[in-house]
Symmetry: C2
C-alpha cells in the first residue's frame, strides 16, 4: 500500500477532499484511503459519501476501521482521540 | 434485529452514550447498534472506541456502514447529511 493514495481529512471545506480523492482515482489509483481524527471524522464520512454518490459511481467503500490515538497537549498532558480510516476502491 | 438495541448518538456529552451502550450489554444484549448523522458521527466513533477500550474489552466493532439521508429544511429546501451505523458485538 503506497502512502500516495492517502488523503488526510482535516478542517478545510469538504469539497477540497472530494477533489483530492477524485483526482487520485482519475490519475489511475485503484484505491484511495481517507484518514481523519477527532471532529474531522464526520467530514471524512461526508467526503466518502459525496465521492461515491455524486462524482464516481463506480467507487465503493471497501472497508472502514476506527482506532484511538494518544495525543500530547502543550503542557505534557495526554488525551485520547478517535481515528477513522475509510478505504475507497473501484 | 430489535430496535431496542439501537442507541442514537446526538449532541449530548459522549459518556451518556457510553453508559447507554454499556447498560445494554450488561442487560444481556449480544449486539448494540450506534446510529448518528452529521457532526454527531465523530461522537458515535468516540462512543464505540471508549466502550471497547475502557469499559467492555470483550466487545468489538463488527461492522461500520455509512449512508446519505436527505433532510428537509424549514423552508422546504433539501440537503444531504451523512449517516453512520456502527454494530458492536461480543
Amino acid at each position: 500500500m503506497s502512502n500516495d493514495n492517502v488523503v488526510y481529512v482535516g478542517n478545510k471545506e469538504v469539497m477540497n477532499y472530494v477533489l483530492a480523492v477524485t483526482t487520485q482515482f482519475n490519475e489511475g489509483s485503484e484505491e484511495v484511503i481517507l484518514k481523519a481524527r477527532g471532529r474531522a471524522i464526520s467530514r471524512a464520512v461526508d467526503t466518502a459519501e459525496i465521492v461515491r454518490n455524486r462524482f464516481l459511481q463506480d467507487v465503493e467503500i471497501k472497508d472502514i476501521t476506527t482506532g484511538t490515538e494518544e495525543i500530547e497537549g502543550e503542557e505534557g498532558e495526554t488525551s485520547n482521540v478517535s481515528t477513522i480510516t475509510i478505504t475507497l476502491g473501484e
